[in-house]
Symmetry: C2
Subunit: 358 residues, 2 copies
């Protein structure tokens, strides 16, 4: 019996996707962008001077927030920089949820949400998604009825890729009597023809907090940098009270700023990922998988009527040096979540699947 | 009225020391090491490749923990890497303190401790330090009587520099019925002749958690990197459950590892700081200040019987481009906390004080 709280002793920690030891492994399991970060980011890295490391960083990440404000047409007061999107999730729980008060999630979604709730001592109100992984019409009503303080929605959905538009999110936000965190980790990969943009909602809804990350869209998963966007009254307590005083280091601040300045480079990678997403989806459908339309940099492929189950396929792929993600959870345990890689990586995956399944 | 918890709405955030806009300002206010980080750290920085940024970092910081274990003669299971020492403080609160249960501190000490308690909804049990800033003999008894789950002691003391030895800490740890976090942020600057080393205590006491940081000793305040040390049962929940999954980024992991590998470089700076600490203390005493012996990289100088109060001195120094720290708090409001700078910076400070006070 240790010194940790009972809730901590009882819980299981979050298990991140595997980071392989071998450099030749094809990693299609943790939704990294297959293309490298912009050359401007590398230049920013290599120009960091010793004096800058010696001193404390700018505690509020002013330069980054100014740049993010320019990109999104917002004010810096509407933005908070965080040590990876996960930190914003934790900070939202700390800031908006009384210990023990419930947290609302759509089921299934990002498996970290219930872990954060458990750490906080909060029960999780799970609302089952519809077959297409969108929230049911009574999502907000059920969240409200349960007295939830914070509802979490990942959009595009993970692990399915389904996108909700501004009207759907606005309806939910308006109905909810609590904070709605919209986790936009994958928003950079949405089809541009849709002109998808939820940020104007913050002008109408003082309870919507958006999460952005540089991990996927900007190829900077190693850097741990994300940001929160919301109206000033929602951002202020995160920025000035519950955030660790120096939560983002000076190197990360500089590289993240450079990444947003050279957003055009990242945008080229988004289009390449979309092109491959469409090709890989068709190929998987050609292999007989059900694959919902995805606006993310991954596909959820249902494995049915094959010689191997999804779980066995995942295992056999790993033995052949290709990692994909398998979730041993209701509604997901017949599927594989496959990150979109380079054309060569995707070809290798598809060839292996053909071999394993036929 | 916003969506944040009542406790958050009521509280004031932590106010970090000023980060000056001007490069010519002499910063003796936030306890940075005046000397640059090791060349090996800069080399590690400049050799980071794009591919490394693109992928998620090693979630458990294995390489760093292995190196820290080598340095301290411990096992990696006894070490957790954190995004600056402040993160370990927050994680200790989250892990060991039921929301609402009290946290114990010596008063005065690091002003972040009560802020973390307030965020957690925990009352603070404050035990007044003796005149020499050491804990009174009944420190543990009073902490126990108040039902505290986590007691925080900074050693060497901040903002005074007083050092408690292994026997004193062992006595407190043994008496306490809760976790004792010993914040060793400044331990690198302890006089080596004392052979001060508390880490063996973790073999005898399963409730002692040590905090180390690379911010001061290794001149890496900009990088945000620290680590916790304790017996495996104390470290395990921090490492596997309450830590953000990828809490330290890949650049920070590599630079921190390089810094520990080239510890000899940092040790040279520690001796230079100690030499100056002794010289500046004598000079301040020569100016009529009471200055307790300090084992940190700062001095607490009591300003009494001068033409200017401590507060006014602090203000006038700032107007002349020299920042020192002033705390408007009982027992500290007649003093200045002065970080040890380079000999030239210290000379400039001493010259200004002579000018202002005589």
């Amino acid at each position: 019996m240790g010194y940790e709280r009972n809730a901590i002793a009882r819980m299981h920690g979050y298990v991140p996707g595997k980071q392989p030891a071998s450099a030749t492994t094809i990693k299609l399991n943790t939704n990294e962008n297959p293309y490298p970060p912009s050359a401007a980011v590398m230049q920013a890295l290599h120009s960091v001077q010793a004096e800058v490391l010696r001193r404390y960083p700018e505690p509020m990440a002013e330069a980054f927030r100014a740049q993010a404000a320019r990109v999104h047409g917002l004010r810096p007061e509407e933005i908070v920089a965080v040590n990876g999107g996960d930190e914003l999730l934790r900070m939202a729980v700390t800031t908006f949820v009384e210990p023990g008060a419930p947290i609302g999630v759509l089921e299934p979604s990002y498996s970290l949400y219930p872990v954060l709730a458990e750490i906080h001592g909060s029960p999780v109100v799970r609302v089952d998604a519809r077959d297409d992984f969108s929230p049911p019409d009574d999502f907000a009503a059920r969240i409200n009825a349960a007295g939830v303080s914070l509802a979490l929605l990942v959009n595009p959905h993970a692990p399915a890729g389904k996108l909700l538009g501004a009207r759907e999110i606005a309806t939910i936000a308006k109905q909810l009597r609590c904070v709605l965190l919209v986790d936009e980790a994958y928003v950079d990969f949405v089809e541009p023809a849709l002109c998808h943009d939820l940020l104007p909602l913050l002008r109408e809804h003082d309870n919507v907090l958006f999460l952005r990350t540089l991990s996927k869209g900007y190829s900077l998963a190693g850097l741990r940098f994300g940001y929160g966007i919301g109206c000033e009254s929602l951002i202020a307590p995160l920025l000035g009270k519950t955030r660790d005083s120096y939560n983002v280091d000076v190197v990360a601040q500089r590289l993240a700023t450079a990444a947003l300045v050279d957003r055009a480079s990242a945008q080229l990678t988004w289009q390449r990922v979309r092109d491959e997403r469409s090709r890989v989806r068709s190929a998987l459908q050609g292999l007989g998988c059900k694959v919902p339309e995805s606006h993310s940099n991954f596909l959820l492929a249902e494995v049915a009527g094959k010689r191997l189950t999804a779980e066995a396929t995942h295992r056999e792929l790993e033995a052949r040096g290709v990692l994909v993600r398998y979730f041993a959870m209701p509604r997901l345990d017949q599927s594989l979540r496959i990150t979109i890689g380079t054309p060569e990586q995707n070809d290798r995956l598809l060839a292996l699947l053909r071999e394993l399944w036929t």
